[in-house]
Symmetry: none
Subunit: 224 residues, 2 copies
Amino acid sequence: MPRILIVDDEAKIREVVKEYAAFEGYEVVEAADGMEAVEKVREDQNFDCIIMDIMMPKLDGYSACKEIKKIRNIPVIMLSARGEEYDKLFGFEVGIDDYVVKPFSPKELMARIKVAIKRSSKEPSEDIIRYKGLVINFAARDVIIDGKRAQMTPKEYDILFFLAKNMNIAMSREKLLEEVWGFDFYGDDRTVDTHIKMLRNSLGPYRDLIVTLRGMGYKFDNIR
Amino acid sequence: MPRILIVDDEAKIREVVKEYAAFEGYEVVEAADGMEAVEKVREDQNFDCIIMDIMMPKLDGYSACKEIKKIRNIPVIMLSARGEEYDKLFGFEVGIDDYVVKPFSPKELMARIKVAIKRSSKEPSEDIIRYKGLVINFAARDVIIDGKRAQMTPKEYDILFFLAKNMNIAMSREKLLEEVWGFDFYGDDRTVDTHIKMLRNSLGPYRDLIVTLRGMGYKFDNIR
DNA sequence: GAATAATCCCGCAAAATTCCGAAAAAATTC
DNA sequence: GAATTTTTTCGGAATTTTGCGGGATTATTC
């Protein structure tokens, strides 16, 4: 269930949005001003979208948006009275994602929320990649295969991480040598083959995720 | 200078948009209906944004958008009368990127165009060519034919990628040998023919996209 | 200095490339 | 429009390349 945060000093507007959003299946949290919104985001970072008025006491919508974006890149949809400067509204330095004019159609707002969430969910975020029982944790530098931690050599980790981070992107041996070994490696191309071989062995049932691109190189591939 | 395409059957609306857009520094191309828009995109693919009405003769905005997205992922902003179904508008299966209600504020429209262009330019240029059920993914180095991944040899990939990247441009055998094989290839011209033959077999139902230019060479051709 | 990792080497099987000749298709000439 | 020439396509076979497994050697780490 996606969570959205509605920020407005008018309780009536919050109420309307909440009602529609609940109907759409969102969990709604309210905030009465920008300050409160920033605090809520700080406490509990997993909002999927924020709807925010511009004119608010304590901290206005622009400034609140800027602060929130520093914490986490949550899509922000601004509400404002007609006549505001559009240039400011969409100012990318503020980071506003979309914008609805007051008085607004709740249906339109809901549609825009949906789009904003969809769009943000598309872009890569996490530091963890999962594929079935394979979990690659970049930060922790470990790999879990069907619940058990995989035992890998440093090079194997490096190659796997590099390929996984560039998922579905073809990598030539030269590119791999450059990126994983470093520019100052003057060795045989075939060294890559050997390490891929060992990596595959370490990956056990997921060995097929590393696919060979004949005459070219390798790629990490989770498609099909 | 960014190029935008304005599609509407009312000349007056096109005129207004054109005026504002010109002021913002855009190059504007007009189309009077969906069919014309699709054709324009096919001919000259480098529009940065498309503004399109929904209600139009010949081909409506939805269908035109769908067609255009097959050719290339250009951001599309829809114009429509208030009261349209928002769900449909933002239907992701259609691929609409944004939406403005008629009668609209030209300033708002300009702001949204700016955002749409900025957003699309930010995302990693998708390096994907689509034609009906054929998807060529350069980065992943794979080709999908009607949902199934095609199995191709390195040379077949290389030729297809080269021809697809130079879509609708005639390529002599010499040029192909030079670009795909490399300058240091001293073999028979007819080698190209054989590989084209195999490539066509691999392309199955899309074999006709590789057209023969008698006495000259080949080209990748998505027209008709 | 023993264990572990990384690199290199060799050979085989499979895959890919090239070449060749014949058939087919298109263009040209009569 | 038939015959001829040119060009392309097709099928197959010889040749070359490539990836990978096994294993040996060298480097690194504790």
